[in-house]
Amino acid sequence: MTTIPTPASRAPAAAFIFKKALISALVALVLFSLMIGIRTEAGPSGQLIYWTRFGDLAAMVGIVFGGSIVVELLRQWWGPVGTVRIVPPQMQSALAVAGRLVAPLLLIFAFLVPVIFYDQRYILDLGILVLTYVMLGWGLNVVVGLAGLLDLGYVAFYAVGAYSYALLATNFGWSFWVCLPLAGILAAFWGVLLGFPVLRLRGDYLAIVTLAFGEIIRLVIINWQSLTGGPNGVSGIPRPTLFGIPLTPGPNGLAAKLGIEFSPTHRIVFLFYLILALALLTNWVTIRLRRLPIGRAWEALREDEVACRALGINITTTKLTAFATGAMFGGFAGAFFATRQGFISPESFTFQESALVLAIVVLGGMGSQLGVALAALTMIGGFELFRGLEQYRMLVFGLAMVLLMIWRPRGLIGHRAPTVFLRHAQTISSDLVKEGHG
């Protein structure tokens, strides 16, 4: 199918593009004929009725025809896929400087968000959402990016964390700060529990088992109504306190103690800094762990499991610690989610969440902390653009996933930074870095 015409043959090229677009349009016509051309719906008496939408069908086919021409033109303009583009040295160094500056600038910006957007509740909420996913991405990155273990059920640990806090707080009245570590520990425990049976599995099998595990947790939450409230979820989850001082209007509230006027924004700002701190903790621990033997063993495991065994590395404990560490961060994030929402239900913990977090990790460039943060910002931000178009959201998300993978299979930041060096740290091209087998 790689019939890329040479520039000398302009006229055949035009014919070629036209022919290709025509075929695409024809395929689209068949694909959409029944699905879009006809709309079915259960009528008032329960009987199925249908009506035609040939206008929509024609429009879709037209879009495919036009889109196909555009794509083909772009492809010719861009040249064959895989062409190495030489970036001039000045620009390369400029890019390198910019690359070094991105992380600190992003961090400063994150710290300033509540100051700049103090009055804009929407932006603060969005910031909290993005940071939650940054944290989840960093947590999953330990499992997928470093240890190379494919986990499609990460949301299970998020759920365990959220329900741990929700149930402990509503049933026993325990405070957020006691429950937070407990949520992490419980999630880590579940991580080990999942890790044990799947130790021998590799690749896609591991992925599907973790997916099944995530679904099992969700189904159990739905059906174990006496404990979890089933599909109705848990409501009335206590809001977090600043080490015992509630952020409420009354005389015991933080505002009264500080002698300032109460504002509901205080709590939002507090939540923002809380998740920022949690995310940064995740990041700091991960960066630290990478430079410790356990982190190197994770990466070595991703590179070559057999060689690890030959070097005396216990791959069982290495895998389990990776699962447990990733799960623990997921648990923290879950506890935060529960306290922020005040209400949780199984609907928040579907496979789509796992897929979203995994997409953030892979799009970020596996193992790259900065990449994951950027990917979370892009994905969640992009998601927000479709806030009004709820039903198109997942459709666009799915399409974006496909296109991003085709565009950058190795993610935004496609190189690995070494954990130790003698003279200078050279980044390692992603072509060399393995992605794990298990």
Binding site: A42, Q47, I222, A355, V402
Partner: protein, 304 residues
């Protein structure tokens, strides 16, 4: 005992549907080595297309049920097969030699695309159809408990058997089948020997999708409804079936499908309906841990 017999009948019918989907998983996994996450949604699309084409035929005034069923079957197979082809062409082929995670995520993305596409195109509500095939036979009637074999069940099982026979012939006797088996062994070598690998892989997706369409139509006939979300759970269960039977093995996929169908039905009948999916997923996990090569799969030897 009568209750048990009835459940076995129901289980076999459900298992036939799972088995048809499982074949698509197992074929693609055998050749491309990836889990086609979108396959469950292809099955769902098949169900929708069967529904719509059925609706049109009825409104055109056709009344002879066998003819309607045959046309619906052919139309849904053809169009769904084209969906399978398109998915492969758009989402998987550009990533054929890429890193392992990329096609997997692309497949997950494609699964979202398909299920939300049909939600957008056909609405989120469940689409019911009146029973198309009615009647049946009473096999046993003792103490007021009846074991029934309905005509729908007969149609489902017979269609499955016929299609399996055609499919088996296709894989074992035709040039295409030989090419498929060659690509499964070694794509590079197959290409060197003149096998059009791209075309063979495309055909694998086409055949898998066509069989999934049959499963979708059978599901529609049997349960009388389709909805945009049914692909996900059915897909995972069918994948479980493929793994249980031994991934890459075609008879294994069918055997696994039957087993999963039976287990699910019996679990619902004797334990709890709420936890039937938990049971299916647990079986997946248990099988993968203790029998990673499945019942009929080839053992994998670790090379050092």
């Amino acid at each position: 005992m009568d209750y048990f017999a009835q459940q076995v009948i129901n289980g076999v019918v459900l298992g036939s549907i799972y088995g048809l989907i499982a074949i698509g998983y197992t074929m693609v996994y055998g050749i491309v080595g990836m889990i086609n996450f979108a396959h469950g949604d292809i099955f769902m699309i098949g169900g929708f297309i069967a529904l719509i084409s059925f609706l049109i035929l009825v409104s055109l005034g056709l009344t002879f049920v066998p003819v309607i069923l045959l046309i619906v079957l052919l139309v849904s197979m053809a169009i769904t097969a084209l969906y399978g082809w398109t998915v492969e062409r758009i989402a998987y082929r550009p990533l054929r030699h890429s890193f392992r995670l990329a096609p997997m995520l692309s497949a997950i993305g494609m699964s979202f695309v398909l299920s939300n596409y049909s939600q957008v195109a056909q609405g989120a509500r469940v689409k019911p159809v009146p029973p198309i095939i009615t009647g049946g036979y009473t096999l046993l009637d003792s103490n007021g408990f009846v074991v029934r074999l309905s005509n729908v069940q007969i149609v489902v099982v017979i269609t499955t058997i016929v299609l399996l026979a055609i499919f088996t012939w296709l894989v074992s006797r035709t040039r295409l089948g030989r090419d498929m088996r060659a690509c499964e062994q070694d794509q590079t070598m197959a290409a060197l020997l003149g096998v059009d690998v791209d075309r063979t892989i495309s055909m694998t997706f086409v055949i898998g999708a066509a069989l999934a369409a049959v499963a979708g139509m059978m599901y529609l006939l049997y349960y009388g409804l389709v909805d945009f979300y049914m692909g996900f759970v059915a897909g995972i269960k069918a994948f479980t079936a493929a793994v249980l039977g031994g991934i890459g093995s075609l008879p294994g996929a069918m055997l696994g499908g039957l087993l999963i169908g039976l287990i699910e039905t019996l679990w619902s009948a004797y334990f709890s309906v709420e936890y039937k999916d938990v049971a299916a997923f647990s079986i997946l996990i248990i099988v993968l841990i203790f029998l990673p090569t499945g019942l009929l799969g080839r053992p994998e030897v670790e090379k050092v």
